[in-house]
Amino acid sequence: MVEWGALDKLFDSDYSLFVWRPESDSSIPDRLGGSLLPDLQAWEEWILPEDRTRRKAALTKHLNSRTRRFKLEPYRIRLPDSEQTLTVGEICYVLAGSPEGQVLSLLSHVTLHSGENGSEDNSRERLELAARATGDGFWDWNLRTGEVFFSRQWKEMLGYSDEEIGNTLEEWRSRVHPDDLPGTMASLQNHIKGNTDYYVNEHRLRNKAGGYLWVLDRGRASRDEKGKPYRMVGFHTDITSHRELEEGLRAFSQMLEERVTERTLELRRQLSKFQLLFNGSKDGFFIHYLKGEGREDTLIEVNDAACQMLGQSREELADRSFSQLFQEEDREDLQAFLEQIKTQGSGIYRGRMKSTEGHAIHIELNAQMFQLANGEACFSSARDITDRLSLEEKNQANEQMLIQQSRMAAMGEMIGAIAHQWKQPLNAISLAAGMIPDACDAEELKETEDIILNQVDFLSRTISEFRDFFRPNREKQVFLACESAAGLMKILGPVLQREGIEVRIHPHEHFSVFGRPNELQQVLLNIVVNARDAFVERGISGRQVQVYHENDSRTGTIRILDNAGGIQEDLLPDRLFQANVSTKGEKGTGIGLSLARTIIEDRMGGTIRVRNADAGAEFTISLPLVESETEAKGKPMNKDQRNPL
């Protein structure tokens, strides 16, 4: 509890400041100024109960509305052990940037009710001091004499010095903005007549420079025992910046509102455009979540085409799992694909959806991931490719047939080789059989048998090689490229040799490629047979075909170089690979090299090129190397380890 003397000292200094926190305990954490104050709780206890409730309500209201500066209605306090009551004014400032919304309260001593009124001048000084502390202008109007006292700060607020403004009401009235004057005067008269407890008005006042300030004008009249006002005091607060801010805010909010309206319209237009596109598409659109973090791949939205494709309504599809729309056996692959989408963002997948009747619908899915507030989602557009697939299948079958036919045509080329290959061992068998009549013992018979069996083995091996070459549609596999050339030469070698053509295979590098070995052989066969035809037609001697195998880290190259005089220039570099263009003019079919390109480029993912070298044509086949268990064999080896092919 505070000593009375201390409190007396408080009110001697006219005003006092303290800082407090509205929502903490009610103790006062800090003090400003020299005044000594009791704690807030004690202070509140001093307030007359009827005023205490009013103050508390006003405080709460202001603080809740986040007003930064407000003035409480004067309230009365009764000091402990005293009959004396004081009327106290309190102006509160919510301190910006302070922790926990601290409030600075400025308390001013308004009147001391001790039976006698304080002198007018004394109270004016006190009020002026209070006004100065808040930065407000103070005015004091003697209604009996009409004299008005304007504080120095009131004058300075308008840009005048003390001497420039006189003591008449006109000094103020003449500066009120003409538009605001009628309302302001009415408000003032209303209070003087006793209709309002306080006079409060906002109006514009012209300053010395001719501009206008917005002021908040607050005042109260003092009345005699008959209720007749004899004096009125008040404060002018410069609220220009506040009004400007308010104006600015109003304009800003109006602009925002306009922009929101505009944007909403734009969004609505976009939405209807999007809806049109969404539902107008022939592809089925599925917007769905991606599985993960306890979420299923639930459908969010589908378009008309999706409903049509699956033969189900939107309602039937609502909340269904996306992957459940697929054939059971495709779901695992689809899940793997959708997982991949999460990392790659987008991708294409081919699979089969399921119609209501359970039919498979072949689709190509184009999926694009995006983020929704509640997780990863995906926009999947599904195109029915049943027709395209059957066309592709048909084309593939045609291509397959063409390749097979071409291989059969090559059979014509090869039949001589086959016959020749077989004549030799047959001859050996025949002659070995001739040994039997002369055989005089088991040993001689055994020798005969050995010769015959040896030749039978040879025949069996060659027939396997032929079968490998002619067998259609073998599965793709990883194989050593140089084995293709070597295998082909086992078959073709004797025919070429008969025509004086020496084929040399240089397995400089052993590398693995992926495809069908006999298709690569077919390409080599076409090239070598073309060279053979050129040698024969042109009667070239010293006939040679060199086959080189080389590779870098990613590509294996097979280079076939002959000395048959080259290819006519107008077929280079590309025309001879076109269908129906032959290096042999009328004699050729124009199929061989075009198929060679189909095999190398479409079926094995490589390239085939040709150019004329010094003495003949040079074909270069580049194929992608494959990662596999045979990769090791494909790595360059030292000389001793090389396959002696």
Partner: protein, 131 residues
């Protein structure tokens, strides 16, 4: 034809040229008991080296061979020793026309009796076979 009729080959030296070892072995086995000598060569070049040293009574040669083939050997023999009888063994009849200088042509696979008959005919026509 009777195999006994081959008796008079006993004084004959035959050179057989073929790159296939089993064939060489079979021919050697069939002829060695009936001829004075059977010489063997694996290609035309080897055969020519033998012939240059000592001319056999008759040469039987295959066509398809490395280094020097049968036709080249035939040409060389006919140029140098026009009277030397040469029997050609070939896989195909259409190849035979290239060997028109040959005294006889055998088409593979060759039977024992065809071989003997051809040898007798050639030697008879040369007056070297006195049956």
């Amino acid at each position: 034809m009777n195999e006994q009729e081959l008796g008079p080959l006993k004084e004959t030296i035959i050179l057989f040229v073929d790159d296939e070892p089993h064939t060489r072995r079979a021919v050697e086995r069939m002829l060695s008991s009936r001829c004075k000598e059977v010489w063997l060569a694996e290609h035309g070049q080897a055969a020519w080296e033998i012939i240059e040293g000592q001319t056999p009574d008759l040469v039987i040669t295959d066509i398809e061979m490395p280094v020097m083939n049968g036709l080249q050997l035939l040409r060389k023999i006919k140029e140098t020793y026009p009277d030397e009888p040469v029997v050609i063994m070939t896989a195909f009849e259409d190849e035979a026309h290239a060997a028109h200088d040959a005294d006889a042509i055998l088409i593979k696979p060759v039977h024992r009796q065809e071989l003997f008959a051809a040898l007798m005919n050639v030697l008879q026509s040369r007056g070297m076979y006195h049956g």
